[in-house]
């Protein structure tokens, strides 16, 4: 049984200031809990504008130097391409789906440990 599930944060597409602030807050709370990676899911976003890129970079910056890792779920090829040209994909692991992100070795390994502990 998985006792500490990975935190999945939906990225606010076409967001306003309040939505962005909320994501920042949720991210910081999730990162404070040492252990499971935090998954930022923006697969629902058709494309990314400069504010989205800024917010994603902020997520990367917040996670830097912490025990918890941030993972991105890009969803579309277009979003992936934008992460590549901004070099974000060289800083953070990027996945096509939440399912893929959950299968990320670090999460899978952590889940195994939790399963062992639980049993």
């Amino acid at each position: 049984m998985k006792t500490v599930p990975s935190k999945i944060l939906p990225f606010p597409c076409a967001s306003n200031f309040t939505d962005r602030r909320a994501l920042r807050k949720d991210l910081l709370v999730a990162l404070r809990v040492s252990g499971p990676p935090v998954i930022v899911d923006f697969s629902a976003c058709r494309t990314l504008n400069y504010e989205d890129i800024d917010l994603l970079l902020e997520c990367v910056a917040q996670a830097a130097g912490r025990d918890s890792k941030v993972l991105f779920v890009a969803g579309s090829r277009v979003n992936r391409v934008l992460l590549e040209v901004t070099r974000i994909s060289s800083l953070v692991p990027v996945f096509n789906s939440v399912k893929e992100a959950l299968a990320y070795p670090q999460i899978a390994a952590q889940d195994d440990v939790e399963d062992l502990r639980a049993s």
Partner: protein, 340 residues
Amino acid sequence: MELGAVVVVPAREDGTTAIHQVEPRALTASENPQPHYSLRMPILGNDVLRSWMERVRKLGVQSLWLTSSPRDENVASSALARFAQQGIERLLVIKLKSYAELDLADLLRFHCESRNPVTEAQDARGQLGVSLLDHLALRASGEKYEFSCAPTGTGRTPYQFRGYAKRILSARERQELVGDGLTGACAMRPLGKEIREQVWIGEGVQLASSVRVIGPTYIGARTIVRAGATIGPFASVERDCVVDCGATVERSTVLPHTYLAPGILIRRGLVDGGKFEDLDGGTVADLQPARLGSRIQQRESRRQAFEETATDVSSWAGSASTWDFAASSMTSQPWLQVRL
């Protein structure tokens, strides 16, 4: 025997013609993959249309006709019949979809010897978009024009070309052509001065002292590359671009009048203004909303310089004239006569 020549330039989807166009704008073509960029965009500073015109001129043809076709790059059948009526015995039709180092004189000789009404040039990958029609085919086309669509093997012997050819409709093949031009694997040479081994730059290029240029690479005329940027290897940044601080362009092409934002990484891609095409996946991403790239608005001075060097066909030898087909049924297709 009179030989005529037609070059078919794909037009934009909205039906406006590319043949009068001076400013580079995104055109579309019907082939897959569909390029978001104009087929008239330079490759290492060279214009593929001009290279075809030069080959036609070497055949001894005095003038050629340029036309623009929105979808399938076909010439209207009524136009072909009109050529026959005007005494053209053989017509060379070139669809601007490939760069091929084709010996047109050899194609003509083959056509005469094989006595086919239509001869199409093809390589191992298929048709190159270059065909020769004789007067019988031209007259027959008045009733039905089928040469561009019919499969080979219907009584026609195609001309097998074994030389160098690349389809410029595909961004990936276009990039291969860039690589071949930079390394001397084809006859196309970068239009500029070779400042060191396999590094060419055009006139008026501004490179900051901290810029890294890794050959083989081409940087087109009047392009500005700012501090800390890296260009190359196998990169082609065409004329009038701005590559901002810390940006990297590697194994990619940047088409004219493109601005690239600071720190951007262009790897295995083709950028045209605000559009980026990934050469491996074919994904086209819009860089503009993310403020990563955009089309540079031409200043008057730059526009002037561009127009002087533009490969717009109306400037070719300064002697273009339009063919008045107002009375015919083919007015939907624009025509321009260019003396060679």
